[in-house]
Every structure is written in C-alpha cells, then in structure tokens.
C-alpha cells in the first residue's frame, strides 16, 4: 500500500464517515473554544458566556438526538477504530447532552459560578462532558485512557472551584491525587493487556483474549487477570465503587453542590457506559467472527468479569448505604447515596455481562435497564442537588439539621424533596422504583437463564436488603424537614412565592413522577440503547 492510498483512505474515513457522526462532540468542542475566546477577546466581551455554553449544549443535544434516531442497529467504527458509534454511544450522548442543557440552566439560576467565573466554569463543564462522550464511545484502550483523563482533569478543577474555601481546595487536591493514582494503575493495566494481546483495539483484543484463555497454561492468563484488575481500578475510581470511593464524600462536601450534581450524574453515566463498553468489548466476540475456541475462552473471561463487577457491586452498595446512615451533612449523604447507586448500577452491569453472549436479547434488556436507570438518576440527582443548592442560598447551610421544620416555610420544596428522596429509595409510583425494578429484573433473568445463578441470587438479595437499609437515611432527611420543629434562632429568608429556582426544581422533579407512572416511552428509548448488545 503506498502512501497516497493510505492518506486518501484515512481522509475518506475521517471526513465522510467519522466526522458526521462526531458532530455532537464537535459542537461541544466549538462551544468550549468560543467560551474561552469570549473571555480573552475584548471584541467578544459583550457575549454572555453562559448563553454561549447553553447554545452549544443545545446544538449538541439536537445533533445527539438526530444521530440517536438514525442509529438503529448501526455499528460504525470511527477514526480508524478508535471510537465506535452504535446505539449505546448515541443514547448516552443524548443523556449527557440533555443533562448539560439542564445543568447549565441550573448553574445560571443557582448563582454559582458568579458572572465573573461563568466562562471558566462553563469551559470546564463542557470539556469534561466532551471527555465523557468519548468515554461512552471508546473502542480502543488508548482512547479509554484519554477519555477518562479528559473527563477527570476538568473535574479536579471544578472540585476546587470555590477558590476561597479551604475545604474546596482540599477536595480538589484529594480528588486529583486519587485520580492520578488510579489513572497510573489503569495505564499500567492497559499496557499489560496490550502487551499480551498485541492490540489496543477492543474487538481485536477480545478474539485474542479468547484464544489465550482457551489455550490456558502459561503465565499469559495471569497477566491478563492482573491487567484486567488494574483496568478495573481506573473504572472503579470513576464509578466511585468501593474501595476506590474515598474521594467521593470529601469532594462532594468540599465542592459546591452544583459540582456535586455534575459529578454524580454525568460522570456516573459516562463511567457506566464505559464499563459496559469494556465488558462487552472484551467479553464478547465481534460480530462475524466464528471461533469456537475463542468463544469458550471468552466465556471464562466473562465469568471473571461477572464476579469482579458483581462482588464490587455488592460491597459498594452495602457500604455506601451503611456509611450514609451516619452523615449529618446533606452533600455527604448524597455522596454516599451516589456510591450506593453505583452499586445498584454495577449489579445491572454484572447481570448484563452474565447474559451477554449467552442470551443476547436478555443482555439487551439488561443494558436497557441500566440506561433507564441512568436517565431517571439524572432527574433524581439533579433535583436533589438543585434543592441542596437553593436551600444553601436561603439557609446558608448544608447541614441536615438546618432543614428542621422546613415544611412550615416552604412546603413546595419539601414536597419536591420528598418526591426525589423517596424515588431514590426506590418506592413506587416514582421513577426510581422503575429503575430498580428493571435492574432487579435483569438479575432475575440472569438467575433463570445463566450459569451465574448463585452470584446473581446473592446480588438480588443484597439489592433488596439495601433498599430497606437506604430507607433510614433518606427518610431521616424528610423527618427533619417535616416532623422536627424549626430552630428558634435560625434566620430563614422568607421564600418568594414564585421563584425561578422553584420552577426549575419543579421542572426536574416532575419527570421523576411522570416516568414512574408512564414509563413506556422512556423505556422504549432505553431499549434502543440496548440494541448494540444483541
């Protein structure tokens, strides 16, 4: 092959195939540039960077939605196999872009960042989201690493965004140090895996892993296991899974509630998508490859992954819920709640992995369950953090005790909080229940259909018990808001009857109710996301 064909081939691939399917990311990237230019060029000073960012996000959402509708069962590798466009990419992008729009509105309403810092803040948020979109579509381990870093580095800066506050700087430092450590380990794992299989391209690696495991014997399998574990460390850090969750409560407590919302929703969605990418990418044979040996080897590899993810899920969920019990700070409580929900999500990932390759149709349902979970989680947690932020602005406190007797002064806010928290427990008729119901469904399917029955049974029981445990701490917040008398000396700014923040919280809390009752439409969306698995 001469250079000319290589160049023209690459050009065709890039311009004709890849770029059109990459326009969501391009829109975000363009808005980052414009936002930064706004700050630098005096000519553009008059532009409100927040509006620019919002516009960029809206464009991204429109593109993501258009791509989603065209996705179907397409699987298209982009940029020479570095990225892949399929139903998962498309739907996670929709979620991320949709979240971005809602989130940027929220930050404008809540007043952090102030106008001075808005440009920096928007640029960081947009940049991190760009990284997260890449996480959802990574098809190559190098890309996995780059995407994770691209999502993480702006997050470190966001965590330290409240510049004057010591806690905030400490949070940022802690986050960055943990992140760097996890990234290092992950990179080492990636190099081990790449070294053994001779490739970083996930589908190619899958075939090779299958063959190596099937052949067994020499130390290669051990190296694979080691590499896999190290890769898992990086993912666990992003998922805030136990025992790599330590950064989570401190960062959430130290950083502004707005940053917490971003990290808990967007970062989680991307991390789950990336985990799915890796377990499906490394655990199943690419379409069209028929190789009995490799298939048998991959079954073993999947078994390993199911136990790894499932075991972590059980510990994460239980520990998150137990630790949340003792919290007195609302943001810390929500941080542990995030950890616990990561556990439920990982249970779903374990079920999906167990079903993958054995019952593709059911694996698809399991992925749909996860997508549904992420979609409802978006509204639940955004609303929860929005409430925290609004109450912080009013009460000047984020302690749960400060919410005492809130029902007297702002009953509407308490109703919204009740909806959100009860949905986080997972009680009908709210969306959180449906999400949990779907994840538990996929566990039951894995019990009835796969050989991973014992683990899945354990996960189902642990998931159920955790639901009961979580009741305590979510209800405690509601209890303080409703049962307890308000503190005498605490100054409370009287709420205005109709406020923008109130409308915003209503707007994000209403879907929590609606998707709990009429969830057919959202489930259809989620089912589209699962298409790639079958």
């Amino acid at each position: 092959m001469d250079l000319g064909t290589l160049v023209s081939g690459t050009l065709t691939d890039t311009i004709d195939v890849s770029v059109p399917l990459f326009r969501t990311e391009l829109a975000i990237a363009a808005s980052v540039v414009i936002v930064l230019l706004c700050r630098m060029l005096p000519v553009l000073r008059w532009l409100d960077s927040g509006v620019v960012a919002l516009g960029g996000a809206a464009f991204a959402l429109a593109y993501a939605w258009a791509d989603f509708q065209a996705a179907g069962s397409v699987r298209q590798e982009l940029f020479g196999g570095l990225l892949v466009f399929d139903s998962l990419t498309a739907s996670i992008r929709v979620l991320l872009a949709g979240f971005l729009v809602l989130y940027l509105m929220f930050t404008r309403i809540s007043g952090i960042p102030d106008r001075e810092d808005a440009a920096d803040f928007s640029a960081l948020v947009l940049g991190a989201t760009l990284g997260m979109c890449l996480m959802a579509s990574a098809n190559h381990l190098l890309m996995v690493f780059m995407a994770v870093e691209m999502a993480s580095v702006p997050s470190y800066a966001l965590a330290g965004f409240l510049k004057g506050r010591k806690a905030s700087s400490e949070a940022a430092l802690k986050y960055a140090v943990y992140g760097a450590g996890a990234a290092g380990i992950m990179l080492y794992g990636i190099s081990l895996l790449g070294g053994v299989t001779g490739s970083f391209h996930l589908p190619t690696m899958a075939v090779e892993i299958g063959r190596i495991v099937a052949a067994g014997g020499d130390g290669k399998v051990l190296v694979l296991v080691l590499g896999g574990l190290m890769l898992a460390v990086g993912l666990a850090f992003k998922l805030s899974a136990v025992p790599f969750h330590f950064w989570c409560p401190d960062v959430f407590e130290g950083a502004a509630a707005e940053v917490g919302a971003f990290l808990s929703v967007a970062s989680k969605a991307a991390a789950v998508a990336l985990t799915l990418r890796i377990v499906f990418g490394l655990g199943t044979l690419p379409a069209g490859v028929v190789d009995a040996d490799a298939a048998a080897g991959l079954a073993d590899a999947r078994h390993f992954m199911v136990y790894l993810v499932g075991g972590m899920a059980a510990i994460t969920c239980t520990l998150g819920n137990l630790a949340a019990y003792g919290q007195t700070n609302m943001k810390r409580l929500l941080a542990y709640s995030t950890v616990a929900h990561a556990g439920y999500l990982m249970m779903g990932v374990a079920a999906a992995t167990a079903l993958a390759g054995v019952h593709p149709a059911n694996a698809r349902q399991a992925v749909s369950a996860l997508t549904f979970y992420l979609a409802t989680y978006l509204f639940m947690n955004l609303a929860a953090f929005a409430i925290v932020a609004v109450l912080r602005n009013r009460l000047r406190s984020e302690e749960i005790a400060a919410y005492a007797g809130l029902v007297r002064t702002s009953p509407g806010m308490v109703v919204a909080a009740a909806v959100v928290l009860v949905s986080l427990i997972g009680l009908p008729p709210l969306a959180g229940f449906i999400a949990k119901f779907l994840v538990f469904s996929s566990l039951v399917q894995a019990i009835t259909l796969t050989s991973e029955r014992p683990l899945m049974l354990v996960l189902l029981v642990i998931g159920g018990i955790n639901t009961v445990i979580s009741l305590f701490y979510y209800l405690r917040v509601l209890k303080v808001m409703t049962f307890d008398p308000p503190a005498e000396d605490h100054y409370v700014e009287p709420p205005s009857a109709v406020s923008l923040a109130g409308w915003y919280i209503t707007a994000v809390a209403v879907p929590v109710v609606v998707f709990g009752i009429l969830w057919s439409g959202l489930y259809d969306f989620a089912q589209m996301a699962g298409t790639f698995a079958s």
């Binding site: 009860v422 008729p429 029981v461």
Partner: protein, 597 residues
C-alpha cells in the same frame, strides 16, 4: 379509548373513579387554590369525597339499591371475577391496568370506603396542618382501594407501596409522643416485606409463560381479549411472561406448573414464592413474631388513622394471602400449611395474653387485633389441609369463609373499638386502664355503644365477631384437633381481657382519674360515627348471610378448584408429601396423625 371499549368494559370509569377520585381530590387540595386557613372547607371537601366514593362503591356492590341494575354493577352470587377493566399500560412488560372485583374483594372495597368515610368524619379533632392531613389521608384511601381491585401484580405492588408514605407521615406528624419511632418502625417492617414480595413477583414473572395455557384459559383469565389474541399468544416463539394475577393462578394450578418445575437450592419455586409472599403479607396481618410494629403504630397513630390501620390495612395481608399466595402457589400452600396454621394459632394466643397484660387501653385493643387476625390466618391455613377427609373441600371452604367473615367483622369491630377509645382520650387525655371507671354513669349513651362494640370484638353470639371465630374453630378441628382446642380456649382469654377492660373502664362507682370534668356526652358527630358501626356489628351478627351471599360463591369455587388441583397433582399427599422438603414433612406429621385417628 374508543366508545367500543367503554361498552365492553362498563366498569372502566366507575372502578377508576372509586380508586382515583380520592387521589384526584388530594391533588387539587394540595394546589394553593384553597387557602390553608379554610380548615372547615378542607374537612368538608375530604368528607364529601370519601362519601361519594362510598356511595359509588355501594352502588356498585348492591345492584338495585338505587333503581334498576346497570351493567357496571356487581352480580351477587356469581363466583368469578366481574366488572373487569383491562387497558394496556406498559406493553413491553405486559403490564396492564387490570382491575376487577369478585366476592372476595367487593365486600372489602365497601368496607374500605365505609371506614374511610367514618375515619374522615372522626378526623375533626385533628387541628394541626389540616390540609396536609387530608391530602395524605385521601392518597392513603386510593392506595388501599387500588390494592383490593387490581388484578395485575405490578399494579398491585404499586398500590401496596403507595400506602406506605402517607401512612408514615400520618403517624409521624399527627401521632402521639413516640410517633417518630412508631412511624419508621411501621415503614421499615412493611418495606422489608414488600421487598421480599418484589423478589417473588419478579421470579414468578420471569418463570411464567402464557403459552402453556389453552386459548380458553387465556380468555377466561383476561390475558387475551378474544380467541384471536389468545392464538397469537400460544403461537409466539418466545416465552410470554405475565403479571396478570388470574393467568398466574391458572399457570400455578397447571399439572405441569412452571413454578413447580423451577427450583432453587432443591426447593421448588412455588414454595419459595409462597414463603416470600407470605412473609410480605403476614407482616401486614400481622402475626407473631413480626407483629411488633402494630402496637406501636396503633397506639401512636391518631384515632382515625388507628381505625384505618385496624379496619383496613390489616385486611390487606389476609386478602393478599387469599388472592395471591394460594391460587398462584398452591404447592407452596400445601407444603407450608402447618406454618400458616401455626402462625395463626400462636398469634391468637400470644395476642390474647399480651392484651391481658396491657395497662394502656389503646394498646390492649391493638393486641386484640393481633389475636383476632390469628383466626384469619388459621382459617386460611386449614384450607390446604387434606388429611383423612379424602380431599373433601367442605372444611376448607368453611375455614376460608370464616376467615373472610372474620376479616370483615373485625373491620367493623376493631375500627369501632379504636374509635371508642379515641372518644374517651379526646376528653380525658389519658388511656390508662387503671385510672378509668364509672364511665357508665357519666356518659351512658357512649358507654352502651362502646360496650356493644367491645362485645362484638369479644365474639358474643348475635354479634359479628362470633360467626367468623366459630367457623374457623370448627374447620380447624378436621385439620388438627389441638389447634382447634387451643383456638376455642382463646375465646376465654378474649372474654377475659375484654370483660376486664369493660369492668375497669365503664363500670365502677365513679371516675377518679384526671380531667373528670371533661367527660361530656358524645357529640352528634361522634354518635353519627359510632351508631353505624354498632348497627352493622349487630346486623352482621344476626344476618351473616348478608355478607356470605357475596363471599361464599367465590370462596367455594376457589376452594373446589384447589381441591381438584390437589387431587390431580398430589393424589398421594396425606401419605407421601410430594413437595417434601424434609422439614415440612416432619412438621406436618403430628397434624396428620391427629387427623387420621
């Protein structure tokens, strides 16, 4: 929806209105249209709503009460499911908005609407946050009614859980001194039960396969609208899962039931599912040893909520066992009959002794509920017993009919008892049994009504409590003589604690406790609540057939179906338990030996 649907499903709007009207009014009330300060208006709106729902349910249950019989009215004496409403809800999971009533649920629906109306009227002494109280109260009513009429397991579960949160707040905000503890305890126990139930629901759903049913069965169980739709199901290539309770029951009673075929750790799924569901339901009933939430919740709850708790919420457990556990997992019921009966008798005796020991009037009434609901469990449990009577379903039918009657009768009598305690508490603000006495002289009208209600609870012949207890005790004789003897003796304990309480509270020379000058006669509102309860307690004691006309056809048919199922699937049951986990075989052995001599 199309007009054709309305014609083919005449009960669509009436049933929907019965269930959702309270929630709708609650939603409207919670909007800031009506100012909080208009307390009287809010009270009347809530009362009017419950009254409308009651009249609507009575109209449906009692054909010919208001003029000519309409198509959306219940046919008394017809055993099957009636007035079925079926609309698709979540097609990808085959979840339907499936409602219907039969002889088991119809009386319970009317009981619920009736008690809700009375409880709403009893809410006048509530003075704190009137608006929030009534919103939550109406939401609670929707949840309770929804449970009784839903025939889709998913829908059932949703309604089941919808009750929890309003109840939590109703106890936690308007309750007594230890309200927070009582509220969270109630919530926690029930949630634990419902999580187990959810696991069972999912297991049953994913094991079910509608293709195993014949087209006739599919149409009869409302899983398919017509023969064409049924054929479409039977010809499907993939398993067709279902949440339809009627279809699940058909599947569970097949000779090659998928639930009996699947097994986990060597025990069949139907036994597991029965056990998980049973735990979920008996927590609500409640039986010993998961009853401890009940005394706390009942005592701390405000009077109207205690009425609802005792009158309706406890029945949900018994209803669930009857409607779901036995028909869907008959094998589990057969294997675990000893457990259900044993729990029933233990609760009966324990509840009675505990009631004897109480110093707090309300707590005593609460424990009497534990004891009385024990009869319900025993009556439901003897159902599965076959013994030496050669699959004779008569005794089972007697037991289940007795249990159903006991549930309804207890609904009236326990709500009445809690109300009577509440009337006294509103006046003197204590409930200490030791400090009462002489109420008869001070409040003669109240005292005579109260004594009548307490006698109904005691199970005096001629009052409603008697019928259920006697039927259950008689039916238990053929299952296990020991259990029958114990349950008969419990009546003496019941008499002891109730008569002792009557003596300490109403009799005696004069009232010496605190706030004696507040012992004013009953108000008109209180009379209007107490009188119907007393009247019905007497009416159903004298003319039990008024209720049996509804209950018996459905219960008898269900029992006969299950008797036929036992004969077909477990012909050798008394000799050789086929489902045979070793433990259950050993435990049923003494009972069998007794029944055979």
């Amino acid at each position: 929806m199309t007009p054709a649907d309305a014609l083919s499903q005449p009960a669509l709007w009436p049933l929907t209105a019965i269930v959702f009207l309270p929630a709708l009014v609650a939603a409207v009330l919670s909007l800031p249209i009506i100012p909080k300060a208009r307390e009287e208006a809010i009270r009347w709106i809530a009362l009017a709503t419950t009254a409308v729902v009651f009249v609507l349910s009575l109209w449906m249950a009692w054909p010919g009460l208001f003029g000519a019989r309409g198509p959306a009215q219940f046919t008394v004496g017809e055993p099957g499911m009636q007035l079925v409403v079926s609309r698709p809800w979540i097609p990808s999971f085959n979840i339907e908005y499936l409602l219907g009533v039969d002889g088991i649920s119809m009386p319970l629906v009317v009981l619920t609407t009736f008690l809700s109306m009375l409880a709403c009227a009893a809410s006048w002494p509530i003075t704190k946050h009137i608006k929030a109280y009534h919103v939550l109260f109406l939401l609670l009513e929707t949840g309770m009614l929804g449970v009784f009429v839903s025939l889709d397991f998913f829908l059932f579960y949703v309604f089941w859980e919808v009750m929890l949160l309003p109840m939590y707040f109703l106890i936690g905000i308007w309750g007594g001194p230890r309200r927070e503890y009582a509220a969270i305890k109630f919530f926690l126990y029930t949630l634990l039960g419902s999580v187990l139930m959810l696991i069972a629901i999912l297991m049953l759903y994913f094991t079910s396969d509608l293709r195993m049913l014949s087209p006739e069965q599919l149409v009869a169980s409302h899983a398919a609208v017509d023969a064409a739709a049924a054929r479409q199901i039977t010809e499907a290539t993939e398993p067709v899962h279902t949440f339809n309770l009627l279809a699940l029951a058909e599947l569970g009673q097949l000779k090659n039931s998928p639930f009996a075929a699947a097994s986990i750790r060597g025990v069949s799924l139907e036994v597991w599912a029965f056990l998980l569901l049973l735990i979920g339901f008996v927590i609500k009933v409640p039986v010993v040893p998961v009853h401890t939430w009940l005394p706390d919740a009942h005592v701390e709850a405000p009077t109207p909520i205690s009425m609802i708790l005792a009158g309706v919420l406890l029945k949900l457990g018994g209803y669930g066992i009857l409607r779901i556990c036995y028909p869907i997992c008959p094998g589990g019921g057969l294997a675990l009959a000893w457990l259900v009966c044993g729990l029933g008798v233990v609760s009966m005796v324990y509840g009675a002794f505990a009631a004897l020991a109480q110093k707090d009037f309300k707590r005593m009434v609460a424990y009497s509920s534990v004891s009385h609901m024990g009869y319900v469990m025993l009556g439901l449990g003897v159902w599965s017993a076959v013994g030496a009577n050669g699959f004779d379903p008569d005794y089972w039918a007697q037991g289940v009919n007795g249990a159903m009657f006991q549930m309804l009768a207890h609904g009236f009598s326990s709500a009445g008892m809690f109300f009577m305690v509440g009337v006294l508490y509103d006046r003197v603000h204590h409930r200490n049994l030791e400090e009462f006495g002489g109420i008869f002289n001070r409040m003669p009208v109240y005292a005579s009504l109260a004594v009548a209600v307490f006698f109904a609870g005691l199970g005096l012949p001629g009052l409603c409590g008697f019928i259920g207890e006697v039927l259950v005790t008689l039916s238990a004789w053929n299952y296990s003589r020991w259990l029958a003897v114990i349950s008969a003796f419990t009546v003496i304990l019941t008499a002891a604690y109730i008569l002792w309480a009557i003596q300490r509270v109403y009799l005696g020379a004069e009232y010496k406790g605190p706030d004696g000058d507040h012992l004013t006669p009953m108000t008109g509102r209180e009379l209007a609540i107490a009188t119907p309860l007393v009247f019905l307690a007497i009416l159903f004691g004298v003319a039990p057939q008024l209720l049996f006309n509804y209950v018996t056809p459905t219960v008898n048919r269900q029992v006969e179906t299950l008797a036929a199922w036992t004969r077909e699937v477990h012909p050798d049951f008394p000799g050789q338990p086929a489902l045979a986990p070793a433990a259950s075989a050993a435990s049923t052995a003494p009972a069998r030996a007794l029944a055979e001599d």
